[in-house]
């Protein structure tokens, strides 16, 4: 298929529809409002339904109901709205409901601002709602990747019966790039025999539920979920690495920030420095293993983020204390510059204490 020039938010909608999502429940918030707008005009054309909910709380609970009834369904929001959706996400996780949630991040805390940010990393990777649960988190860095991973999200959600988060930021949502919509992969998925579709008098009632009052039952349920999470950690890690085996400095960055870092790395390489990159594409599961491939004589790791350093925890865990970890970050909608990143790389390469 030919490439088309599309705005990120609209491309997300187009990708979801291509993946077979016919239902969208959402609530407006900058910088993602073009996505519900797009869905409102496109979903009726495929016999689906767009509904503007009265709040993010209602929207995610509508998603819960629809997912429980066995369809591919999606919602999207930006940071303050994501905070409200956490209730429904933990219920969906507990009830093992596949659904896709897009967070086009902006700065916080509180009302924050409307400019791009990556400050919902903890919330996305640590749960955010109550209880022991995980969600797969994709962090695309271009609109092409966003389109690809939105489509992939629906497959992974169904495959593991899990809510999947696509963690984008205001830049992805608002910029335009050329994208190609590939045909969705053909994946054999189990039929949703657990869904509430009406018994038709032909089977026992299905119950979609996250309540287990018997502590032993709840423990069993939790360990069952945990086994699935372990399986995901084993099979679903996505990461891009560049030249980490002989690097003197390795940068770690995800999403749009990784593109700025790539520019800085190119500048440093032109100056003869050996710089590598680890770009997590899934933030959960985090690519822990690749850190072992880093050159043992590397001088240090530089984490670059549009947050005060939320990913550093994961980087330190993955690095297991082998190398010093440094940080370059901007917040509030401010964006790290290639020059400041290059300067940090040069300092680390020069051996700072």
């Amino acid at each position: 298929m030919a490439k088309v020039l599309m705005k990120g938010n609209e491309a997300i909608g187009a990708a979801a529809i291509k993946a077979g999502c016919k239902y969208f429940f959402g609530y407006p918030i900058t910088p993602q409002s073009e996505l519900p707008e797009y869905m409102s005009s496109e979903l009726p054309k495929v016999g689906g339904c767009f509904l503007q909910a009265e709040s993010e709380v209602a929207a995610i609970n509508m998603v819960y109901g629809a997912a429980g009834a066995g369809v591919r369904v999606m919602t999207s929001t930006s940071s303050p709205g994501m905070a409200l959706k956490q209730e429904g996400i933990t219920y969906a996780a507990g009830a093992e409901l596949p659904c896709v949630i897009v967070n086009v991040m902006r700065g916080g805390p509180g009302l924050g601002g409307i400019q791009p940010s990556q400050s919902d990393y903890f919330q996305a990777t640590r749960g955010g709602g109550n209880g022991d649960y995980r969600t797969i988190v994709f962090a695309p860095s271009s609109i092409q990747e966003t389109v690809d991973y939105v489509m992939e999200s629906f497959v992974k959600a169904d495959q593991y019966r899990i809510p999947v988060v696509v963690l984008a930021d205001g830049m992805i949502g608002q910029m335009m790039e050329a994208v190609e919509f590939k045909e969705p992969k053909k994946v054999e998925l189990e039929p949703k025999t657990w869904a509430t579709t009406g018994t038709k008098g032909q089977r026992k009632p299905n119950i979609v539920n996250s309540l287990f009052l018997d502590p032993q039952e709840l423990e069993d349920h939790n360990w069952k979920l945990d086994r699935r999470y372990k399986e995901i950690e084993k099979n679903e890690v996505l990461v891009e690495t560049v030249d980490i085996e002989d690097a003197d400095v390795v940068c770690v960055a995800y999403g749009t920030t990784s593109r700025i870092v790539k520019n800085a790395i190119a500048d440093c390489k032109a100056k003869g420095l050996k710089v590598g990159l680890i770009r997590p594409i899934t933030l959960w599961p985090f690519p822990m293993e690749v850190f072992k491939q880093i050159n043992p004589n590397c001088k240090g790791i530089l984490t670059v983020e549009m947050s005060t350093g939320q990913m550093i925890d994961d980087v330190k865990i993955a690095n297991e204390g082998r190398l010093p970890v440094y940080f370059n970050g901007r917040v509030g909608g401010m964006i790290p510059t290639p020059a400041s990143i290059s300067a940090d790389i040069e300092k680390i390469a020069g051996g700072i204490k």
Partner: protein, 248 residues
């Protein structure tokens, strides 16, 4: 032998956990009978609340989803929008519907969502041990209103049916009680009509059922029924507030 009475096929064989004398059980029975009589049990998808009826999904003999506290109307909206051919209902207590979930029920009514809501008003939070609800009466004692509810502190009890009846999308609104056989029969009629409202595609339907909580009211089951008649019925008058036939 002729069977003159049997348990509704709309209920499972599970034993309910409700306290002796609690009227949740009667209301379950009525809803189940109506689903069977209307021939929609096999298409029905119910949404259980958080509250004493949290386990309703074990009692109704149809597909069920459990919702977060107050969110049943949103969950039901999601189900109904993707499965418009199914009969979708919520079963909610007054803490669930009139407190934490007010926005969800108001907006489901406002959209004219084609769902049926059974709203069990027992003027108290049952499950968590008798705290004050928005529906708790003035002077009524609750664990979080130890001296009795006052208007100055908590406002007057919220009249949900009257409020929802002002919303155009609410096509059927009726308040009933299950305190005696005559009223139980009327309650069943109202519940049936509320499901017919959905089946005929008219819009949102709600039946508010005045119910007892002998345990948290600290009364015997019989005294609880009397208390309902003497105290709840004067403040929450029974009757139809809206019917889809009369709707212009």
């Amino acid at each position: 032998m002729t069977i003159v009475y049997e348990k509704s096929k709309g209920l499972t064989d599970a034993q309910t956990h409700y306290c002796p004398g609690c009227t949740h059980g009667i209301i379950h029975k009525l809803v189940a009978e109506v689903l069977v009589e209307l021939g929609v049990l096999n298409e029905a998808i119910g949404v259980a609340p958080v509250g004493c009826s949290v386990l309703a999904y074990n009692y109704f003999n149809c597909d069920m989803q459990e919702a977060a506290h107050g969110r049943a109307p949103a969950v039901a909206t999601g189900i109904k929008r993707v499965r418009p051919e199914n009969t979708v209902f919520t079963y909610q207590g007054d803490g669930d519907l009139a407190s934490i979930g007010t926005a969800e029920v108001v907006h489901s009514a406002h959209r004219g969502e084609k769902i049926t809501t059974i709203f069990v008003n027992n003027a108290i939070y049952g499950m968590t041990g008798g705290q004050m609800a928005p529906t708790t009466l003035i002077g009524q004692k609750a664990t979080t209103a130890p001296l009795g509810r006052t208007i100055e502190h908590s406002g007057k009890p919220l009249k949900i049916s009257e409020m929802l009846a002002t919303i155009d999308g609410a096509k059927f609104v009726e308040r009933v009680a299950v305190n005696n056989p005559a009223n139980i029969r009327k309650a069943k009629k109202a519940i049936k009509r509320a499901f017919e409202c959905q089946i005929q595609g008219k819009g949102f339907a709600i039946v508010e059922v005045l119910s007892t909580c002998p345990t948290n009211w600290g009364k015997t089951p019989v005294d609880a029924l009397k208390w309902l008649e003497d105290n709840m019925m004067p403040y929450y008058p029974l009757g139809n507030f809206r019917d889809f036939e009369e709707d212009k």
